[in-house]
Amino acid sequence: MTSTKPAFRHPKLAQNSLGLTRKDYEGAVSTLCAGCGHDSTTNAIIQACFELNIEPHRVAKMSGIGCSSKTPAYFLDRSHGFNAVHGRMPSIATGANMANRDLLYIGISGDGDTASIGMGQFAHALRRNLNLNYICMNNGCYGLTKGQDSATADMGSTGKRGIPNPYASIDLCELAIELGASYVARGFSGDKKQLVPLIKGAFAHSGLAFIDVISPCVTFNNTSTSTKSYEYVREHIEATNTFDFIPLQREILTDYAEGTTQEVIMHDGSIIHLHKVDSKEDVTNRLNSVNKLEEEKAKGRLLTGLLYVNQQIRETHDILNTSLRPLNSLTENDLCPGNTELQKINDSLR
């Protein structure tokens, strides 16, 4: 039932520096429920790619299984996509990335996909600092299987089934920081203004950028008693900072009051400019980030924004010291040692 939108292009649509319009970054028509948070997140991804002048075909989209994991079909239809099996997006993304370090990788997952069945792969992709833009569309439930609580559902939160969740929730951002992530952010599908730059920063980041996007499930978990409903999130959201993402090409123009900004220079030369609520906060300090998250949680607030960045950690290719050429581009000549070498080996085995 996947169908692509009509290719007709309005002559006046805004173009980016590649001469592409926003439409060139879209995908098939979504089959998610009307109003699903995941569709808004999809839109933010499209926007970020468009604004970053990313060549769509240089992106590879990977996902697990779930409503969230279906979304790669709904953006960047000029990119290759791989909708794998439940909870295993990280390993597929790892292999793909190893094969060709020159593409951009975006991995989409859900809270069920990441925090339950995918917990191990999530943790270890973080530990290896895979160069991946990992977006978890977090709705606190298993949408596609009809709304069971997930491991990110808050204790006491009550979805459409009407039974308060009795288990403690896992905070994926805290966990990511604990596990040594190098870029951790939290967004809200209802706040595109904040989300788009977070995604852009993630693309510019070298290593694993994890974004936990609170992305409400309107069908099963948008009740007034759910802490992952639009209403609840809107009322309890707290931004740690606002955020400018300045790609390499552009110059910094704006000026901010002393002490209220922090500059993070990304691997590709882009700059992230943080305008902070509290000038003492340091987004590059792990403990500070976790403490801040916990503090807000204690106040019943959900902290969003760029929570933590560390540009010092090497990404997997750097750790492995692999060739700068994409491995998938190597041929017999690069790879096969030839018969003469083999005869030497034979000799050593006699």
Binding site: T2, H57, R88, T322, N328, L330, C336, G338, Q343
Partner: protein, 611 residues
Amino acid sequence: MNRIESVNDFVIRFANVNGSGSASANNLFARAVFRAGVPVSPKNIFPSNIQGLPTWYEVRVSGDGFLGRRGGIDMTVAINGQTMQKDYHDLLPGGYYLYDSSKQLPEDFQRDDVIVIGIPLTRLCSEEFSNPKLRQLLKNIIYVGALAFLLDIELALFTDSVTRQFKKKPKLAEPNIRALEIGFNYASEHYQDTCGLTITKTDKLGDDILMDGNSAFALGAIYGGATVAGWYPITPSTSVIEAFDRYSKTFRIEKDTGRSKVAILQAEDELAAIGIAIGAAWNGSRSFTPTSGPGISLMNEFLGLAYFAEIPVVVVDIQRAGPSTGMPTRTQQADLLSCAYASHGDTKNVLLFPCDPRECFELGAAAFDLAERLQTPIIVMSDLDLGMNDHVCGPLSWDDSRKYDRGKVLSYEDLETRHEKWGRYLDVDGDGICFRTYPGTHPTKGAYFTRGTSHTEYSAYTEESSVYKAGMERLLVKWDTAKTLVPSPRTKIRDPKKNIALVFYGTTTHAAYEAMARLEKRGTVTNSMRIRAFPFQDEVINFIDQHQQVFVIEQNRDAQLRTLLIAENSISPTKLQSVLNFDGLPITADFITEKISALLEAGSTAGKKQP
């Protein structure tokens, strides 16, 4: 008493404690026999722990070139106190019992059909060497020196090996050579004419090599162009990746940058290991994962995805004794069904069956061509015996004009010039294989969505029954194509009347060939087919059809190849009689010979051979 007398044809068993450094001494011995030009076949029988438990190293010497395991022990080198008793009793009548006579033999060692050879290893060692760590190691070298004398092997064969081994640290060679001499001298002083077993130089081996299957597979992966490997440690497959890593360091470092042309990732588990390999394969790298039984079980779901989404991944299964954790350091061929039909739903995977290290190399390299040509998982079915033991086999060779068969892949130019509408799952050639593209190839053409859900020929999601069904049927067409591409069986016809045939595969091969020779001596001439791949070619079926009586020899309990043979083809099960060894030790020629003789006997007593 009749002592065993034999030139170039006997079995020596070394009984040691694991973690005591005996492995290198025992290897030294086997390699010396090999260097004397005599076919040799060592088998390591070791425990699933790290230190302190019994371990055996069984070396078969066979001038006739029979490389399978043989029953019976002609000589035991009994270094392990825990098993002395058992080792003593396991000896054939007329056999030789070499032990460390620094301590006296217990009183109840009273067999009168055994020749006892005492060498005071501990004492000799202590007298000569002071470093306690070295002492433990050199004790083993001393008995090797003694064997050199007893079996009449030139000492130079050993000392050369040692010199070669310690080329970079000649200081270390010295005490080893000294230890060899001590053993040699002691034996020559005390055991002149005691031993009736002799090694005589021959040139039987030509340009053969002595190699383990796991290194050979790894080298096949290097030559076959693998660039990504995901793995998780598991006995007995770990040495595949160790060798791949070693060879990569020799052959795959960019000279100018020092960077590596492979990415080897120790994954968090087997699910991730195969996920990494699949992701890489999808993205156009040749990739593989080595594993063993429990890993295969964990890879089930992903194997189904690779089958259905048609991703060319290579898996090598170094089989060990199951079920479950089973006997991790014992050998078996018991993962055939699990691999062939891995995963839920209607799935089938291509299997390859190498029989020696040379084939591990060749089929290993071929697996990558096959995977990419067929766009499906290829599972290379090795086992512990093949993978971890050294085997004599023909030398490796590579045709430098050989090009990798990357299968049906559309390049930028192809996409530019192609007129027809391209569909990832559209079978334009009628062979069931469709064209694929690598991510990033073209700005506007050739992108597609890969999924484990049902898809149309254009890789869109569908729940349309007829479309789904057509896709599943195309996969069967591809299955038929696979039959034309996989390595063909090897046949030996000695009885043109085609009465009795033996069918086998993998490490059963050598013992089976030997059994054939023995049966022939007893007057039973047989033909044989060594199967090298699943699915089976028509050739396999015809061969079986043409024979009156077929014995299928396997190293598993449930006759798994036989199941595949009758399930996938219309062979009558009554025609296929099973010869099954599944005790975890490599199958022996004795076992096969006796079992087949007995079955033939039973058949003829029953008085009816069915047509």
